[in-house]
Every structure is written in C-alpha cells, then in structure tokens.
C-alpha cells in the first residue's frame, strides 16, 4: 500500500517535472509545477511530516505558484522563441547534470543497506513537536526569518514599482 502510493505520486512528480521541461508556454510549465508540488506534499505525508505537507500545499502551491501565474499573466508571456544562446549550456551543462544524477544515484544505491526502510507512521512529527523546537530552541532564527520576509516584501514593492 505504502509502496503503491509512493509509486503513484512519485510518478506524478516525475511526469510533472518532465512536462515542465518540455512545455513551451510558461503557463503550462507553471501548472505542471503545481502538480509536482502537490504530489510532493503527499509524499511528505507518507514520510510523517504532516505540518510540512500542509505548508507545502498552502505556501508553495497556493501562494508561490499563484504568484508565478499572476506574473505570467501580467507580463503576457507568450510561447518561447527558439533562440540560440549558448553552446556551453548544452555541451557542458548536460554532461554535468547527467554526472550529478549518476553520481547521486550511485551514492544512494551503494548505501541502501544502512538506510533501511520507511514505513507508514514509523516517525510522525506533530505540529506541536515542530513548534516546540521552533519556538524554544530556534527562536532567534525564527524571528530573523520574519525580518527576512519583511525585507523581501519591501524589496519586491520597491522593485516592482512604476517609475515616475
């Protein structure tokens, strides 16, 4: 059951990612990304991170991707043109990416023994566990991130303002 759920939603992730890659129009890519994020939320749940799963849906799919969609709409982004920009991206980048993938897979597979299995509910982190750590041990970083968000808001407002 667990395995089946994993494969279904994992498949959705990969399919969405590939679709993001292959689509020409950015709005299609954005929608594919939403699919990926939602599937990832389910996978988080499977791994026992209930708060984060919710946050994933609310923040990522619900806020960030909507923001992306708004911007695509505002800027009236159209289909991509085919321009020849750079040979380095293809000649150097793809081997690099492939090498990263191959290496990571190799590392993970060669260590599969010690890593063991995850079963449903073997480790469940409740929201109160999470908040206990956040508001007690990591209070300072938490407050700092609020400042960070403030700065980001200010920056976004300033940058996107119309010049007079």
């Amino acid at each position: 059951m667990h395995l089946l759920l994993f494969f279904i939603f994992g498949g959705f992730c990969v399919a969405g990612a590939l679709n993001l890659l292959l689509q020409r129009h950015p709005i299609n890519s954005a929608l594919s990304l939403i699919v990926v994020m939602s599937s990832l939320a389910v996978l988080y749940l499977l791994l026992g991170a209930e708060f984060l799963a919710a946050a994933q849906v609310i923040v990522y799919s619900g806020a960030i991707m909507v923001l992306f969609t708004f911007v695509i709409m505002l800027l009236n982004a159209g289909r991509e043109e085919r321009t020849h920009g750079s040979w380095a991206a293809y000649l150097v980048g793809f081997p690099g990416a492939a090498a990263i993938l191959a290496l990571l897979v190799y590392i993970f597979l060669s260590n599969r023994g010690p890593l063991g299995n995850a079963s449903l509910g073997n480790y469940l982190v409740t929201t109160s566990d999470l908040s206990r750590v956040l508001f007690r041990d990591l209070l300072l970083p938490f407050e700092v991130t609020s400042v960070l968000l403030l700065v980001a808001i200010l920056g976004a407002v300033v940058l996107a303002r119309k010049e007079h």
């Binding site: 920009g85 750079s86 380095a88 991206a89 150097v92 980048g93 690099g96 090498a99 990263i100």
Partner: protein, 668 residues
C-alpha cells in the same frame, strides 16, 4: 718619533678644493676660484716639505690608520696610509710639480669659460694621485688608480664641445679599463693566495718564504704589468696617450707626463718583491719597456704637431723606466721618473706657452723664429731638450745613464736591451732637436702660402670657445710671468736635478739610490769602484749618439733644408708607415673595436636584448593577454552558459569530495 704626521691631510685638502670649486665654483669670482685651487695645492706641498725636512726622525714605514673599510670574515681592508722613502719621493714630485703646473694654469686657462671646472678637476686629480702613492694596501691604491683615470678622462675631454676631444677622453678611459682589468685579476689572485691586500703583510709573507718562485707570483706580476701598461702607456695599451693631447696643455704636462703615467712605474717598484721572484715577469717588463721605448721614438720622428712629438717622447721615456724595472734597477727607474717629471713637464709647459702665444697653433711646420720673440721660453726649453737628450750635466744624463748601465750589466740579454736603449737615445735626440729647430730657430714660417698648399694649418684652430687670435694680433711675445715662473723653476730643476743620483764612477754618492735602498733593495747595483770604467765608457757613448742626433738635425733642417723632403719622398713607403703610426690604431679598430661593436649592436642588442629579454617580457604580456582573451569568453552575460558551467563544476566537486571521502574513510 714625533707625533702623528697627519698624512690624511695631504690628499684631502685638494679634495676639499675640488668640492668647493666643483659645486659652487661657477658662481664664484675667478680670483676666488684661483685662490682656492692654489691654496689647496700649496698646503699639501708645504706639508710634504715639512715632513721631508723632518724625514730622518720618522721611522719607516710609517703607517697611519684612518678607519676600517671592509671587514668580512676572511678578508679585511682598511683606510691605511703609509710613508716610506719611495712614497716620500713620489709625494715631492707630485705636490711640487703639481703646484707649479697649477700656477702655470692660472695664466694658460685665463680666457677659458670652464675655468672653475678645470681647477676642480685638477684638484680632484691631485686627490686621487696622492691617495695612490700614500695608500698602504692594494685596494686603496686601486681607488687612486681608477680615480686618476677618471680625472684624466674628465680633463682630456675638457673641451667637450669638440668631438675629437670627447672621443679621445673615451678612448683613454676604455684603454685604461683594459689595464685595470688586469690589475683587478691581480688583486683577486692576491686575495686568493695571501688572503690580504696590505703591502706590509703580503711583502712580509713573501719575504718569509724564499722558496716561493714563479708560479702564482708570476701570474700576479704579469697581471699587474697589464695594468701598468694601461696606465703608463706601454705596448700594447699606449694608443690613448697621443690622443690625450686633445686636452689643455697643463693637463698634458701634469697628468700625461709627470704623474699619472708614472703610476705604473711606481706600482711596479712598490711591488718589486713580487717581481724579483719571477724572472719571467721581469724579462717581460724589460722587453715591453725596450720595445715601447724604441717604437714610440720612431713615431715621434715624423710628427708635425708639437704636442704629439712630446706625447710619443713620453711613451718612449716611460719605456726607459720600465726597462729599468725589468732589470731590477728600481731606484734607477724612480730616479728617471723624477728627472723626467722635471724636464717633460717643462717641455709641455713651454710648448703650451708657444701654442698660447701663437693663438692656438700647434703645427710645427708653420712655426719658426720664435727664439728672438720668446727668449725666456726658448732658454727654458733648451734646458729641457738638453736634459732629455742626456747631455751632462743636465738631469737626464745621470738618470738615463743609470738605466742603460744597469741594462748592460744585466744577465739575460742585457746587451741587446742596452743596444735598443742606446739607439733610442739617438732617436730621442733627433726628434727633440728637430722640435727645437722647427719651433724656435730659423725664420718664421707663419703665413707661408707654400705650406698652406701642402695642407699645413697656417691659421690656428681655436682650442677654446673664444677665439684668442684677436688678443695676440699685436705680435708674438713671451707669456706673462705667471706662466714663465714655473718654466724657470722647472728649468733649474732640470739642470741640477740629476745631482741627486751621480754614480760613484763619476765621483758622486748616488744619494737617491741609497735613499731608496730600504724600500726597493739594492738590486743589482754594482759595488763602488767595480766596472766604473765600463760605466764611464757607456755614458760617453750615450752622449756621442746624442750629439750625432743633433748633427743630423742640423744638416737636415739648417744646412740642407730640402734634404728632409727628398728623403721622405725617397723612402715614402717607410715614411708613410711611420707617419700613420704603423696603422696600429686602425689595426686595433679592425681587430678589436669593430668586432666588439658589431657583436654588441647585432648580437647582444639586436638578438639578445631585443629578442630574448624584451621578447620574454613581451611574450609574457602576450600570453597573459591571450589567456585572458580566452577566459573572457566565459563572461558572456548569458545565464544559461553560466548555468552549464555551474552544473559541471558541481559535478566535479561532488565527485572529488565523494571519492576523496571514501578514500580516507570506510563506509559504515
């Protein structure tokens, strides 16, 4: 022993004079410049005179330690001055004759624009020359050695606007440098072998080892000889001295007659103990001396410039001194050095007086008849001519005689050396009396159109920026007394100066020989009484050949004046060879100078300097530029290419860290 002699004052007072005149002399009034220059030369002379008068109370060698100079682990040299009999003689000559020439120069250079500069350089020369003779080690002597070469260069090129003067100065300096190179090698050998450059220590080490003969001592001696041939204008490095006549006449008198060129003879005498151990080196010196003596005399026979004749005469007389050193008769060499200083300086100064009166004219072919117009000059110069030709009782007779006698009795080939010296005495007499006749006797040949057609420079070339012909438009006459005074004093010295060395064979006591004995040894001086007949016979033969020379000149220039012309045309091949100085300058030019110039210009400058060194610099720059141009292409501004490189870099890092990690740690 009395207190300190303050030897350090002797060279440093002229140096102070150089500093004052050199730095601010341009702005000082001429009188002040003169006063400073003369005082800074008079004071050393007075000091030397004072020491001379008290000389018997000085223990020799007297060493004055002025300060430490170099003190490294194995080697040290100090600023040490010393005084012994040899130095005393040299000091008297340098300061005495130097002072007289300074006085003369006040008159001679009175119209020159670089008046202050002249006296500054002259004082500088005095400083270095006095350092040379006073020093107690080879290193300080070398400082003086180089310094007089520098002063000589500055003074030869005094008329720096004249191209020939500048070139002559450079030639003198470069040729001297070759000699200095030999001197330096000798210094290095001395340090390597003895570990020190002090006279005292080197000489005592040699004295303690009578078994040291030849070998390294020969090598040292030969390199010292190379240095001496450069400074004292012997074969093969004499070529600079005739050209040095481009300098003002007082310079020729002081530096290139009386003092600087004798530095080589002084050096050989000072280091005689090394030469005594090396018969090979001594023979070399003797042969060089004799050959130069004869060779230069032949060239002096046909010169037309009055100063050139005297220049070759100087080279020839220096050859005599070297010959004396070569037969280990060092005191004879020094004796001739002293008498030569007197009569040669006098000859040059008198010639300068003639040139000055004629408004810069130096060619003897257009002189003549000056006897009546310049009587004092005439009589003083006559004394000098008689002295140099070795007529008794003038100074040159005793000194030249001394040398030839010791050459004759010297074991290896002495007779041949004597013969060469004897013939040269005849040649000397010929060219000196020729000069005497052409300049002073007969009728005046100035403004002679006939001679102008032959290419003689009838009208004077000005040897300074101001034309001084206008001044003497009212006729030729004797010079002012500031110039004549030194001439008279030197004439007196040339006449009676020989009496300090009258040999026993003629009833004298040879004072100078005995005086110098503690320093240069008794050499090969024959004991009194022995061979006195031989000595008298040899002296007589020298006088005879001198008279023969006078006779030939009388015939050629007085009785049958066109005979000389006919002889010149008849033997024109030989004549041309000698007039062109055996083409030695041209040979040197072709063999040495031109190849060096070509190598420097094309190989060293073109290939090496421009090609390799500049090329390396340029290549480094070009490489950096090229490399930069390539790397610059990465900065395209294109995000995607950046991303590509990033991905590659990340992959490399991952691989490196993982495989590096697993190499050091085993997986759990």
């Amino acid at each position: 022993m009395t207190g300190s002699l303050n030897l350090w004052l002797i060279p440093l007072v002229p140096f102070a004079g150089f500093l004052v005149n050199g730095l601010i002399g341009r702005k000082l009034p001429k009188l002040l410049v003169t006063a400073i220059a003369l005082i800074c030369t008079l004071i050393p002379f007075l000091l030397v005179a004072k020491i001379w008068l008290e000389f018997s109370s000085v223990t020799t060698p007297y060493i004055e330690h002025l300060g430490t100079w170099i003190w490294t682990g194995a080697f040290h040299a100090d600023f040490d001055l010393q005084l012994d009999q040899l130095t005393m003689v040299m000091l008297l000559v340098v300061t005495g004759v130097g002072f007289l020439i300074h006085i003369y120069s006040v008159g001679y250079m009175a119209h020159e624009e670089g008046y202050w500069r002249f006296f500054a350089y002259l004082n500088l020369f005095m400083f270095f020359m006095l350092t040379l003779v006073l020093s107690e080690n080879f290193l300080l002597m070398f400082v003086g050695w180089e310094g007089v070469g520098l002063a000589s260069y500055l003074l030869i090129g005094f008329y720096f606007l004249r191209d020939s003067a500048v070139r002559a100065g450079i030639k003198a300096f470069v040729v001297n440098r070759i000699g200095d190179f030999g001197f330096l090698i000798a210094l290095f050998l001395l340090i390597a072998h003895f570990g020190t450059l002090d006279y005292h220590e080197v000489f005592s080490q040699i004295a303690q080892h009578p078994e040291w003969q030849g070998g390294i001592l020969t090598a040292i001696a030969l390199f010292l000889v190379l240095g001496a041939t450069g400074k004292s204008a012997q074969i093969p490095l004499y070529v600079w001295l005739p050209d040095a006549m481009e300098g003002p006449t007082p310079v020729s008198a002081l530096i290139h007659a009386a003092t600087m060129v004798t530095a080589g003879v002084y050096m050989v005498s000072r280091t005689h103990i090394i030469f005594d151990r090396s018969p090979f080196a001594l023979s070399t010196v003797a042969i060089i001396g004799a050959a130069t003596c004869f060779f230069a005399a032949t060239m002096g026979l046909v010169q037309t410039d009055i100063k050139r004749v005297l220049a070759y005469s100087t080279v020839s007389q220096l050859g005599y001194m070297f010959l004396a050193c070569g037969v280990a008769a060092y005191s004879s060499a020094i004796f001739h050095l002293v008498t030569h200083a007197f009569f040669k300086a006098l000859l040059f100064l008198a010639a300068g007086a003639v040139i000055h009166s004629l408004g810069g004219q130096q060619d003897m072919r257009v002189m003549g008849g000056l006897r009546k117009k310049m009587p004092v000059t005439f009589w003083t110069m006559t004394a000098a001519v008689f002295a140099i030709c070795g007529f008794p009782p003038f100074a040159g007779f005793f000194s030249k005689d001394d040398i030839l006698y010791h050459a004759f009795i010297s074991p290896n080939g002495g007779k041949i050396l004597w013969f060469v010296g004897w013939v040269t005495a005849g040649l000397t007499s010929f060219y000196m009396f020729r000069l005497w006749y052409l300049t002073f006797l007969g009728e005046s040949r100035a403004d002679s159109h006939e001679l102008a057609e032959q290419g003689a420079p009838v009208h004077a070339r000005s040897d300074s920026k101001l034309v001084i012909e206008a001044e003497h438009a009212h006729g030729v006459h004797d010079s002012p007394w500031v110039m004549l005074g030194p001439l008279v004093i030197l004439a007196i010295l040339a006449t009676i100066g020989g009496f300090i060395g009258v040999p026993a064979a003629m009833g004298g006591h040879d004072e100078i020989g005995h005086f110098l004995e503690p320093v240069v040894g008794s050499g090969v001086r024959a004991p009194v009484g022995e061979n006195s007949g031989l000595e008298l016979a040899l002296s007589a033969s020298v006088v005879l050949i001198g008279l023969l020379g006078l006779l030939v000149v009388h015939i050629l220039y007085k009785v049958k004046p066109d005979l000389s012309h006919k002889l010149a045309t008849r033997f024109h091949g030989l004549y041309n060879l000698v007039v062109h100085k055996y083409w030695v300058d041209q040979i040197y030019g072709a063999l040495i100078v031109t190849p060096l110039l070509l190598i420097s210009r094309y190989l060293l400058k073109g290939l090496f300097d421009r090609g390799v060194i500049d090329g390396a610099g340029f290549a480094a720059g070009a490489t950096a530029q090229g490399f930069g141009a390539i790397v610059q292409r990465v900065q395209s501004g294109n995000i995607r290419s950046y991303a590509g490189w990033l991905a590659l870099g990340a992959a490399v890092l991952l691989i490196a860290s993982y495989f590096g990690y697993t190499a050091h740690f085993s997986p759990q």
